[in-house]
Amino acid sequence: MPEPLASPRRRLRRLAPIFLAALVVGAFVPPRQAAANDGFLDGPVPVPLRGGGVKGDGTPSDPQPTGRLIVRYRDGVTELQRGRIRAADRLEFATSVALPNTEVVVPVAGGVSQALAQLEGRSDVLYVEPEYRRTHMAGPTTEPRYPQQWGLNNTGQTVGGFPGAKDVDMNVPEAWNITTGNPNLVVAVAVTDDGVDFSHPDLAGRRWVNTDEVAGNGVDDDSNGYFDDVDGWDFCNDDNTVHDDVIADHGTHVAGTIAASGNGIGVAGVAPSVKIMAVKFLPDDPNGPFPADCGTDTAAAAAIAYAYANGARIINASWGGTGFSRTLHNAIAAAPNALLVAAAGNSGADNDVQPVYPASSDLPNVLSVAAIHNEGRISGFSNFGFTTVDLSAPGEDIVSTVPGGGWAHFSGTSMAAPHASGVAALAASAKPALLGNASALRQHLIATARALPSTLGWVASPRLIDARAAVVARPDIRRLSGVNRYATAAAVSGATYVPGVPYVFIAAGSSFPDALAGGALAAQTGSPLLLVTQTGIPAETMAELLRLNPLSIYVLGGTGVIGNTVFNQLQPLDEGGGVFRLAGTDRFGTAAVVASEAFGSGVPTAFVANGLNFPDALAGVPASAVLHGPLLLATTTKIPPATATALDQLNPGRIVILGGGSMISMSVAAQLDDDVYTTGP
């Protein structure tokens, strides 16, 4: 029988710290110092920046690719393996990135997209993405008036004289980490209203432009029935100017709520990158003289038809009135792929009793929205309806753009609807399948809205529209399993590790304690754990061992759980590092041996779990990869001598007890707390 080249103790002592150190710089892992000093990391949750983060330019510039790719390899991929990958895919190393296993590469042949596809297909690449150049620092959350926008992010700030209820908001900044809206999709949100003043600096870049029309040539270039309708159309005055008078401030306010630019000025729209199509049909001043065509059902029907024919698939309707109109109903029904987001009304009345149209239209492409205030209840003015109003959105003390370059606070369901329209635009940007499928988009907005119990009974779904939930991708849920426990372990390993791992840990599939104590060490060294029987190596385990090609193999537990036959069968399978056994006299002893092999005195953390029950220790295994430290075992009422001795030697910075008092009793916890480890059974 070949002897190990070095004793297990020496081998691990020499190697383990190297890999632990490598893990310390890992993205998943905070620095050891911090882990040892700052409690249980229960601070505020950092929001991951995905999809390039928040861009804040007024006219969101197209992404500026550098022609390079950022590649993150899986843990355990060596520099040699990276070199092979680069050579195979004809890439050149450009620079390293201040993240683990991450580098920038340049394609030396073929294009970026080809290289992207090749790298994406590799199992040893965790992710690959094009590198972009960033040009603007300001984001929507740094807009000067953003702190007043409680509907986007309610910090409890006082708005309109009322302190808000913290976090009663639409989670908009969280959604912006995923998308601020796609300006290139046909996501122009039509604002059917009294016009939009696009000269407002906070709406710079937000204007939808009819690119099929040539401005000022007096010809209907796109044959859509309207001459020179570059910016939209005014059905009130039957002309191509979409804003006429500073007194018409309603549509401009609505437009700002949906899409005001994140440009360092004023406010941020809910979807600050989408375009607004202005379709005017309401009068400038409803109290003054105005042309006879203004505000009529006929004009409304024409406005909806225009928006739909020109590609808008989200239409905001911050207007309405009692009295059913077959014309209006049919116009909405004739735009079945567009979601019409309608304000419920401002009479404080029950729409179930007296319907308001278009909000109460019984059509699958109409979303009816009530208003809430910053304390999280239905606004006093807001119409409601247990069956006819769908849900709620912020609508009271809403700051947004007004003509002449200013901003003002308005209240009304007219302000709630554009909040919902903005979220609809974000959702359609993140999930293009929802764009043009109005009933699915409506259902999605309702299904992803967050519970707001105070609105129970007031609206059909007692919920507040939720931007973050509306844009997050559904996770990829995958089952890792085999025909038995051994095959499942092999499948887990196969999905996680690339060949050439430093260590593989081998545990008995018949019992859990050794696998968990060893698993903590496996987790911290980026190593797989595979299972065997007392007398043999199952075929799936063997195949996975051959694939992994480990430097060294560690067998967990004594001959009672893994016999020498198995130990000997493992001998030829290491890449020269040796095959070693880590075993004590029982489960507690084995855990102590694992701990003393790999961890020296002054380890930042030690975990203690019940060695007779697996769930708590199991959850602690991945946690140990973050907090660094061995997993030791106790019983509910006793600290076994082996555990006490190990803790004495390790002198951990702190001890994390996994499980409640029924698993590790208060008296054992007190002994651990007092460093009185030597009172074992």
Binding site: P475, R479, N484, T488, S493, A523, A625
Partner: protein, 95 residues
């Protein structure tokens, strides 16, 4: 780190140790065989391991999945240890 039961303890560990993670492992909280290799693998992905009952997703686990909004979830074991209804329930959290 403790919760009111095994599911709660695993959720507490996740909440305190993993402020964010793109990957989550889920295994049966009443049987260890299919879960053993998952702990180190979850550690390698930098994500927590949460527990479920075989046919119903506990609320403590649900809360962590909703908080983390992971890009991928690995379920350990076949339908006899974690049923398809649990997977359906997880999908239902992310409409």
């Amino acid at each position: 780190m403790a919760g009111s039961d095994r599911f709660g303890t695993a959720a507490t560990v996740a909440a305190q140790v993993f402020p964010a993670s793109e990957t989550v492992f889920v295994s049966n909280g009443f049987g260890f065989p299919d879960a053993l290799a998952g702990g180190p693998a979850a550690g390698a992905y930098g994500g927590p391991l949460l527990l479920t009952a075989p046919t119903a997703l506990p609320s403590a686990t649900t809360q962590q999945l909703q908080r983390l909004q992971p890009a991928r979830i690995f379920v350990l074991g076949g339908t006899s240890v974690v049923s398809n209804s649990v997977i359906t329930q997880m999908n239902g959290l992310f409409p």
